[in-house]
C-alpha cells in the first residue's frame, strides 16, 4: 500500500511521510527523520510480550533437560534422564493413559452434543433458538469449581463415583460449548444452495448430508473435537473433585507432586504436555487455515 522503503530499512507510509517530516522534531533528530519510530516501539513491545509469554515455558524446558536436581545458569550439560524417569514410572504412565482416555472420550461426547445441537438449531423450525444457544454455551460460563462440586455431589447421589466414565462425562458436557459455537459458525457461513443442488440432482437427504454438508463443516467439527481433547487433557479442578481420589490424571498428579518437591520430573512431564498441546493447536491452526485469523 504505497510503502516507501527507505535506504536504512525503516518504512514510512506514503500518506504519513509529509507529516512525519513537519512534526516531531525531537524524534526526527534522534532517528534521522526516516525511521518509523512508533513502528519499532510496537515491534519491541510485541517482542517483550511474547518473551513474557514464552520465557516461563522455556525455563521449564531448560529444567527438564538439566542433569542435576536444580537448575543452574549456565546449565551443566544436557540429559534426558528426567524424561526417562517419568516415562518409565508406572504411576506417571497410568496418569498419562487416564488423561488420554478421558480426553478422547470427552471430546467425542462434546462433539456429539455440539454437532447435534448446532444442527437442530440451524435446520429445524425450533422456537427459542437463542434460548437453546444460551443453554448450549452456558456450561463454559460457570466457574469450573462450581461444576466440579455439582458433579461431585450428583455422582455421589446416584452412587457411581470415582470412575473414568465420570470424568469423561463431566469433561464432555463441560467442553461441548466449543463444538456448538464452532459448528454453528460453520453452518451459518455455509452456502445452502449447494445442498439444494445436490438434492435436485437426486441425492437423498443422508447422501447430501454425508457428501456435501459434512465435508464443508468438517474442519469445524474437527476443531471442536481437538479443542475438547486438549482442554480435557489440561483440566484439573473438575477432574480432581469428580475423581474422588481414585482416578489420577496428569494435572492431578502434577499438582500433588508439587506439594512435596519441585523435582525436575515435573518439568519433564510438563514438557511432554507442552509439546502435545502445541502440536494440537498447530494442527487446528493448519487444518482450518487459521481459525484465529
Amino acid at each position: 500500500m504505497g510503502d516507501d522503503r527507505l535506504p536504512d530499512g525503516g518504512t514510512v507510509r506514503g500518506s504519513d511521510r509529509e507529516r512525519e517530516r513537519t512534526r516531531g522534531g525531537l524524534l526526527r533528530a534522534l532517528t534521522g527523520g526516516t525511521v518509523d519510530l512508533p513502528g519499532s516501539i510496537a515491534r519491541l513491545y510485541l517482542g517483550a510480550c511474547l518473551a513474557f509469554i514464552v520465557a516461563p515455558i522455556a525455563i521449564i524446558v531448560a529444567i527438564s533437560v538439566t542433569p542435576e536436581q536444580f537448575l543452574t545458569f549456565p546449565p551443566n550439560g544436557f540429559s534426558l534422564r528426567w524424561f526417562d524417569e517419568v516415562l518409565s514410572n508406572a504411576d506417571w504412565q497410568l496418569a498419562l493413559l487416564n488423561s488420554l482416555v478421558i480426553a478422547a472420550g470427552a471430546s467425542v461426547i462434546a462433539a456429539s452434543i455440539g454437532l447435534s445441537l448446532a444442527f437442530a438449531i440451524d435446520r429445524y423450525d425450533v422456537r427459542y433458538t437463542s434460548f437453546l444457544r444460551g443453554i448450549g454455551v452456558l456450561p463454559i460460563l460457570i466457574p469450573p469449581v462450581i461444576i466440579g462440586v455439582a458433579f461431585m455431589s450428583y455422582f455421589f447421589l446416584i452412587g457411581i463415583s470415582g470412575t473414568l466414565l465420570n470424568l469423561v462425562v463431566a469433561h464432555g458436557v463441560f467442553y461441548s460449548p466449543f463444538s456448538l459455537v464452532l459448528i454453528s459458525t460453520g453452518l451459518d457461513e455455509m452456502d445452502r444452495s449447494v445442498e439444494e443442488a445436490a438434492m435436485n440432482l437426486g441425492a437423498t437427504q443422508w447422501q447430501t448430508l454425508r457428501t456435501v454438508t459434512f465435508p464443508i463443516i468438517r474442519s469445524n467439527v474437527f476443531s471442536g473435537v481437538l479443542f475438547a481433547f486438549i482442554l480435557s487433557l489440561n483440566e484439573y479442578i473438575i477432574a480432581f473433585l469428580v475423581s474422588g481420589f481414585t482416578v489420577t490424571t496428569v494435572p492431578i498428579k502434577i499438582f500433588s507432586s508439587l506439594r512435596y518437591s519441585y523435582s525436575p520430573t515435573i518439568a519433564a512431564i510438563s514438557v511432554l504436555y507442552i509439546v502435545l498441546t502445541t502440536a494440537v493447536v498447530a494442527t487446528v491452526e493448519y487444518y482450518t487455515g487459521g481459525i484465529w485469523n
Partner: protein, 316 residues
Amino acid sequence: MAGETETETPYTRDRSESSGRLRGWLNDRSESIVLGYPLAMLALFFAVPLFLLIATSFYPKPSGEYYQVGFTLEHYRRLFTVPLYFRRLGFTVALSMATAFGCLAIGYPVAYTLARMDSRLRRRVYITTIVSTMWLTYIIRSYAWTVILSKNGVLNEFLLTIGAIDTALSLTPGIWALAIGMTYVFLPFAILTLYSSINNIDPELEEASKNLGADRFQTFRNVTVPLSKNGIYSAWMLVFILALGAYIVPRLLGKPAQWTLPVIIGNQSLNNLNVPFGAALSIAMMVVVIVILVAGYELLGLGSEEMAGAGGGTDG
C-alpha cells in the same frame, strides 16, 4: 453403494418437493433425536447436577457424615454472618477486575500490532504460540512462575548475580506472584479476543483518518479504539469471568490469605468434607457471575457466545 441409488433416483423430481424436503430436512422422528440427544445430555449431566447443588446447599451437615437430606438455612446464615466469606468474595472480585484491566492494558497493543502485521506467516506463528500457552494447564504455568519467583529461583539468582539485591527476595507465594500469575495465564485470552475484533476493522478507515489530518495517536483514539469497543468489552468480560473462577493460580501462587472464593469452595468440599456449605458458597458465587453476565448483556450488549470468547478457557 451410494452412487447406485443416486443414479436410480428419478431426475424428474420437482423443485418444490425438493425444497420442501430441504425445509423439513431430516423428518420428524430424526428431529426429535437430533434435538433430544443434546438436550437430554445437558439436562441429565448439567441441569440436574446444578439443581442438585442448589438442593444440597440447604441440606444439614451432621458431623462425621457427608450430608443429610433435609432443610436448613444454616449454611447461608454462616455465609452472611461470618465476615470472612464476604471479604473473600470482595477480594476475589477485586483481583479479577484488576486482572482484567491489566490484561487489557498489556494485551491491546499486542493485539493491535498482530492485527496490523504484514507478514502472514509470522502472525500465524505468534498466534499459534499464544494459543498453545493459553491452553496449557494452569498448573504448569503457575509452576513455571514458582520456579522463577521462588527464593532460590531464577529471578533471585539473576538479581543476586548482578548485585541488585543482597539477600534473596521471598516473592512466592505472595500478592505479587499472584498478580503476575493471574495476568500471565489470562493475557492470551485478552489478546485473542482483542485481535479478532481489531482484525475486523478496515485499515482504510485508519488511513482515511490520517489523510484527513489526524496523527497516529488521534487516529488510534478516535477511530481504532471506538471501532474495537465490543472487543474491549468482550475481552474484559471474558478475563473477568475466567479470573473469578480461577482456582489453581491463587492456590499455588497466593498465600492462604489471598486464596479466592473458588479455593475456599474446593477446600470446604474436599478437605472439610462440608459439601453443603461448599454448595452454598457456590450458589452465592454463581449469583455474582449471573448478575455480571446479565449486566454485560444489558449494558454492553454482549451475547453469551461473545463472552464465551475466542476459544474460551477454563481453570485447568
